[in-house]
Symmetry: C2
Subunit: 656 residues, 2 copies
């Protein structure tokens, strides 16, 4: 809980030393420890709340403005288009037009494929690329994100929904539940944004996201084997074992060679296009338009060869026309309401994670600020409206946003362009997709999700932090071998376990003096640092809370016991003073104070003096409140370890 | 995850500065930053595991010992009585005898009352004070704890069990479930000990325990109104509203004035005795034997006045004889097995919390070491054996342990004495309790649990940490207004939320130079500290993890923006270098490295140089592994803030 709120605080002089000025020259100056003034309870709570929920200071522009200006700023805060729209010009529009057309050509075939992952009819994917991007363009503040259905959320939604309602036997109820879930996904996102709880999505760690995404990519690719191999009887489960069993048991009679030929050819084409785009950034448009070209070619091919009569499965029918209203389809009562809320919350959170990660990445690349919480309100609003206009959960797509960025998008207008193209497609072109083979959609999805597998990130995670790697692999294998939900659950659990473990077992270190300085550092990091005879200096590398207070106390005593044994063996003088370096101790709670009290009484029994060096503002406050300062004595608290050593071991002064 | 495992590590010289020795005299010596050698993965994991699970180094005495000696030490480790028993002598026995007799006189009436809280017949309380203390005496290592049934665990067990099986209609099944729960409470305790997971109970913070205990005390006292007022129809719920409704609805026809007179008289007597014991520590035995005296007097009074015929409820019958076997009564199959496990785990954990807190308190007072994990094995073993000999969950009692300590107990032999007295009671005296009025038991319990309400602790918690106080009050009101389980759940949730919040929103501080020193400290704690022109020094007060990496990055940028605005207003030179003081940053993960990279690129865009001061061993390791060091340049990492300032702002040198 950050507290940097009290400006103009004064330090009381706590420890007036009667050091004569002549002596001052012989020994280095020792500064007193600052005692912050007691904070008012209200200001304390206020500053905590501010740092927790309003750490980005969102009301700053509103400060000291007249009321009318505040109103304008408020409307602009909700609809950033009113702000940046005023500076919009033709050159920006040129960039946005090209980017918008490019992402439109990429999104149309993807949308049709992704809606299959969500077990919905193909038009719902297109619907979701029409309304949500429009809403986002008005409310969102990212300039680079491309909105629409994405693979992972579609898969997640499909899995969660079909565990409640069977989409083949109950398609209407299934669709209604999908809209319900979308509605509550939106509500979840808006609520997180308005309640300023956006930081909750940070609890899904980067490592877990890398593992989860890779696992989801494998799972999605495996699901495509159905369309790719032309299998009719395919398992409903998503784990690799069920899928492979399903694939091999249908090997002899269920595979369709014509389908495989079409699929494999175009997959090869798409991968080559992807490779070209990767090799030379100038050709980013090659992989971007390759899917649409594949669809056109494959559809034409099937149409003229009548391959659909030979077992090649085709899309058959996409409903013409734009999104019908679905307000009445959302469940607002009954069992399905609860199911919808449950699924919506999960899908909404995952969708947020993806969108916010994209938003942050591109904002950092172009160096503009993105308000995470405002972004969530925009994404949520677009899903709420979407759920009422036959869309399912939309969010920012990794692949399309990257294309958008590379195609030179300037503002969210590129989303409007895309939306317009999807609108035209829905109005006029959908019948042309009738003969599009499913295999080509499978190939497009496979080539799209391959990009979600980030080996380099996994290798880097392995190098940097082994525990993070475990979380990453846990999420990966959880998704691949069990299900998307399990993978998520494993990832979140491991991430939490890590935090708790770190809080429970903080590091401690014995310090020594670095030669020719007055600096005291970990003797394991600096073996040349020398211990001070008769003193033991221990640093605690964490706030002291109930979860670690006993450990900290016992660990300090163990440092002492080990050191004492060592000194005894060597025949050196025993420890007289234990200096605890408190710089990293950012906070302490009641249990922590207890632990210090117990430490003090254990040391007293052994005839060792406890000395504290550099307790921070908050810690000092609490040490005073609990009377611990008067227990050990005010003169036993120092500004630095060096000061403490000088005072406790005056012999050293001459050596310095 | 502490890592102090690699002894004898050598520091590589990372940054060889070509500072001529003549220049060295003009500017202070700048020491290079130590780069720890790459740790072997195995040693790293080993040291993490060691600090997490074996932080107390339990195998130390076994090191370098011959096999036979190891065996002896192993047996002694399981049965500490073999160790301390060898030094046992008559003078110790004298202390233990007096203490044992005192706690026996206190425990017998308490046991009979507590078994009612657990909805069991009175003899089960006595059984639980016979076998478990014996087992503990052989296996436990605390010298002061007094074992037996306790109020809070009895209430908890009673509440949890009766929500599964009704004790009045199904007494046999209820009792069997109680033994099953006791068995699994023991198994839980043993497992936690053997798996060295004892630290898990630290997650119930001191503050939460204070609130929980006080709430439980109120709840237990309220439950006693049944016996105290002689009400026959009493609610099964434990929340204050249900209980008060039950009490007042029976006010006109259900209260029995004779019962009230007996109860109130002896409650007054007990409270006066308690007050005497508190005023003068020498009279500790007065409150200790007052309950037994009350029971004798009240029983005699009822016997001669035939008050039981006038509606005064009496104990009626306590089965004579020692514990029968209950091995066959434990459910090892079926639904009840699962219920038993669930209840056993919760009751076992709470029992542990109480016992370990007591053990630690007294061990600290007498300054001896207590191995928490070994203690758990002892407590668990005693409950497993107890469950097979008709006992329910026993643990260390606050009130009896305090009496034990004050009566001058020396070893666990006082538990054996108590156990023998309970044995004799069961064999010969139980029939005499026939006419003991329930009201007197209610009075004894009320006077016993009053001591669990610790106002002073609550006030201190309020003073030290407001968040802790919320946890404390949450637990208290949860227990009083909802139920024991809810109180526990609230307490644990708030405690966890606190940890997560702390990890999510670490403090940051701007640093300035303390006058006449080279020390840089928080300018809010030390307003006299001066900022260095052209530099901004920010300290991050926490490890940088996924949960806070975005916050940390944004917060640093906010410090920078605020400072730049301020400088602009004042017309001062702009910031050129941002020094991040990393001393409190004890660890960093992949997300943290990403945040630093993004920070670096944001700063580059603004033309500001990023400089790190004093990264710790682990952090430096990871900065190297991720190539972040080469990104910002090796010469941008310094041992201290002072070194960094000297190098980045050489003008300052002359001023020092």
């Amino acid at each position: 809980m950050g507290h940097n709120g009290d400006t103009g605080s004064e330090t009381k002089e706590m420890d007036v030393r009667s050091v004569s000025s002549s002596r001052r020259q012989s020994i280095p100056y020792i500064h007193k420890v600052g005692v912050p003034p007691k904070q008012n309870l209200f200001t304390e709570i206020k500053s905590t709340v501010k740092e927790t929920f309003f750490s980005d200071d969102p009301f700053k522009p509103f400060k000291d403005q007249p009321k009318s200006r505040k109103l304008i700023l408020g409307v602009q805060a909700v609809f950033p288009i009113l702000e940046w729209g005023r500076h919009y010009n033709l050159s920006k529009f040129k960039g946005d037009l090209i980017a918008g057309l490019t992402i439109a050509s990429l999104c149309i075939p993807q949308d049709i494929g992704y809606s299959k992952l969500a077990n919905l009819a193909p038009q719902y994917g297109l619907y979701s690329s029409f309304v949500p991007p429009l809403i986002y363009a008005f409310m969102g503040s990212s300039r680079d994100i491309a909105i629409g259905p994405v693979a992972v959320v579609s898969l997640l939604l499909g899995t969660l929904l079909q565990s409640e309602i069977d989409p083949t036997t109950n398609p209407v109820e299934y669709r209604r539940l999908a809209f319900t879930a979308t509605f509550f996904a939106g509500i979840t996102q808006v609520s997180l944004g308005i309640l300023r709880l956006g930081f909750l999505i940070d609890f899904l760690s980067h490592a877990a996201v890398v593992g989860f995404m890779a696992g989801a990519a494998i799972t999605i690719a495996l699901q495509q084997l159905k369309g790719f191999l032309g299998i009719k009887d395919f398992t409903k489960k998503t784990d690799i074992i069920s899928v492979m069993r399903s694939v091999f048991s249908s090997a002899h009679h269920g595979w369709n060679w014509q389908t495989i030929v079409i699929g494999a050819t175009f997959l090869a084409f798409l991968l080559v296009a992807k490779y070209i785009g990767k090799k030379n950034k100038k050709f980013f448009w090659v992989p971007a338009i390759a899917p649409l070209i594949s669809v056109i070619l494959a559809t034409f091919f099937v149409y003229i060869t009548h391959a659909d009569k030979k077992g090649v499965q085709i899309v058959k029918h996409i409903k013409k026309g734009i999104n019908p209203s679905s307000v009445n389809e959302i469940y607002f009562t009954g069992d399905n309401l609860l199911k919808g809320i449950k699924i919506g919350v999960v899908a909404g959170m995952i969708a947020l994670t993806e969108a916010v990660a994209i938003g942050r990445t591109f904002a950092a690349m172009k160096d503009y600020q993105l308000d995470g919480n405002k972004e969530m309100v925009a994404l949520g609003a677009m899903n709420v409206v979407g759920s009422m206009t036959s869309c399912y959960v939309a969010t920012g797509s990794f692949s399309r946003s990257a294309v958008n960025y590379m195609a030179g998008c300037q503002t969210a207008v590129s989303n409007i362009i895309m939306s317009v193209v999807v609108f035209l497609t829905l109005m006029f072109i959908t019948p042309l997709f009738e003969f599009t083979p499913n295999a080509i959609l499978a190939s497009i999805i496979i080539s799209a999700v391959i990009g979600l597998i980030d080996y380099d990130a996994a290798i880097l995670i392995w190098k940097i932090d082994k525990f993070d790697f475990v979380a990453c692999m846990g999420a990966f294998f959880g998704v691949v071998f069990a299900s998307v939900e399990w993978g998520l659950l494993i990832a979140v659990s491991i991430s939490f376990a890590k935090i708790l473990l770190q809080v429970t077992r903080p590091r401690t270190a014995a310090l020594g003096r670095i030669p020719r300085t007055n600096v005291y550092r970990n003797i394991q990091q600096y073996p040349e640092a020398s211990k001070v005879p008769g003193l033991l200096i221990v640093r605690i590398d964490s706030a002291i809370y109930f979860s670690n207070s006993n450990y900290v106390r016992e660990r300090i005593l163990r440092w002492l016991t080990d050191e004492e044994e060592h000194l005894k063996e060597e025949g050196l003088p025993a420890i007289q003073v234990l200096i605890v370096e408190m710089s990293p101790v950012t906070d302490i709670d009641t249990s922590g104070i207890h632990a210090l009290q117990e430490l003090h009484s254990s040391l007293q029994k052994r005839g060792i003096q406890l000395v504290l060096a550099n307790p921070g503002r908050v810690v000092l406050d609490k040490l005073h409140a609990s009377n611990f300062v008067s227990l050990i004595g005010q003169d036993k608290i120092f500004l630095t370890v060096a000061d403490a050593v000088l005072t406790c071991s005056p012999k050293l002064v001459e050596e310095v």
